[in-house]
């Protein structure tokens, strides 16, 4: 109490910095739960965030197939049903949406300095797209090449 008294008397005397006391907890956000239906940008944002779910599910399925490979040939049954292909198509769409929105933003987020200058966001984004293309070709070749290996 003593601290408060001396502090407030100081404030009233004008010897310390005048600052309005913040009303902690007084501000109530009133965003409704359906905010993401309000306009297309919000809906797209929510969709982009939710691409994370199929991406995670597809990776967990891949882990499951790897686990199956450890249980012997009789147990090895990797996904090849129409249902699995349909699931992968959905996941592929989600992964593409993630890749494109992520790489489009990467130029704005990654600030790359060369000497005194900052590389233009467009250049960073283009470089990342080039990197994506390169990595994609390498993985495609490796996946097919590894299919010729036998244990």
């Amino acid at each position: 109490m003593a601290v408060e008294a001396s502090a407030s008397s100081q404030r009233h005397a004008g010897t310390s910095e005048h600052r309005p006391r913040p009303f902690i907890g007084a501000f109530q956000r009133t965003l409704p739960r359906t905010w993401w239906l309000r306009n297309r940008n919000y809906s797209f944002f929510a969709l982009r965030e939710l691409t994370a779910i199929p991406v995670a599910l597809w990776l967990l399925w891949l882990l499951f197939e790897i686990w199956l490979a450890g249980r012997g040939e009789a147990a090895y049954l990797p996904g090849n049903s129409p249902l699995y292909i349909a699931f992968s198509v959905v996941c592929f769409g989600a992964a593409l949406l993630h890749s494109i929105s992520w790489l489009n933003l990467s130029g704005v987020i990654l600030r790359i300095k060369v000497g005194q200058n900052v590389v233009a966001p467009r250049v960073v984004t283009l470089a990342n797209y080039a990197q994506w293309a390169g990595v994609t070709v390498v993985i495609a070749v490796l996946l097919v090449w590894l299919s010729t290996w036998r244990s």
Binding site: W35, A46, L59, W132, I139, W149
Partner: protein
């Protein structure tokens, strides 16, 4: 104590570097980049083209009458015998989990379900850590 003092304490706390936040955000960025660059081709080849019989990939080779289980299994074992393949698979599977956790955490907060944030953080980041442990476990024993 009283409002005036506690106000100063909370202001002081706000200036501390948010190390955990930086760690999770960093993992989100790394995982997001990993997913963006690597995932589409894996899903396209392993999830769509290989099961359709258009392209053979390691672990999924179609024969004249459906899946060639023997060739698929043997190629999968051969690929997994390479430690670099296992390391790559660890990065491919585990890193995007942190990206997923971060996105789902913030989208759940934004959906205002009334679940306390620390609980959500534990749920999603804990899930990602659990997924990492699971991935390491599978890749180490397979």
């Amino acid at each position: 104590m009283n409002a005036y003092v506690s106000q100063h304490t909370s202001e002081h706390a706000a200036h501390k570097p948010a190390r955990m936040h930086a760690l999770w955000w960093g993992l989100f960025a790394v995982g997001g980049m990993t997913a963006a660059l690597l995932l589409p081709i894996h899903i396209l080849f392993q999830g769509i083209l290989a099961p359709l019989g258009l392209v053979p990939v390691a672990g999924k080779i179609m024969g004249a009458t459906g899946l060639d289980v023997s060739a698929s299994y043997e190629s999968m074992r051969a690929a997994l015998a390479n430690p670099l393949v296992r390391l790559y698979l660890l990065a491919l599977i585990a890193l995007p989990l942190y990206h997923v956790a971060h996105r789902l955490l913030y989208v759940t907060i934004d959906l205002r379900l009334g679940i306390p944030r620390p609980l959500l953080g534990l749920l999603f980041y804990g899930g990602a850590v659990l997924g990492t442990v699971l991935t390491i476990g599978v890749l180490a024993t397979v």
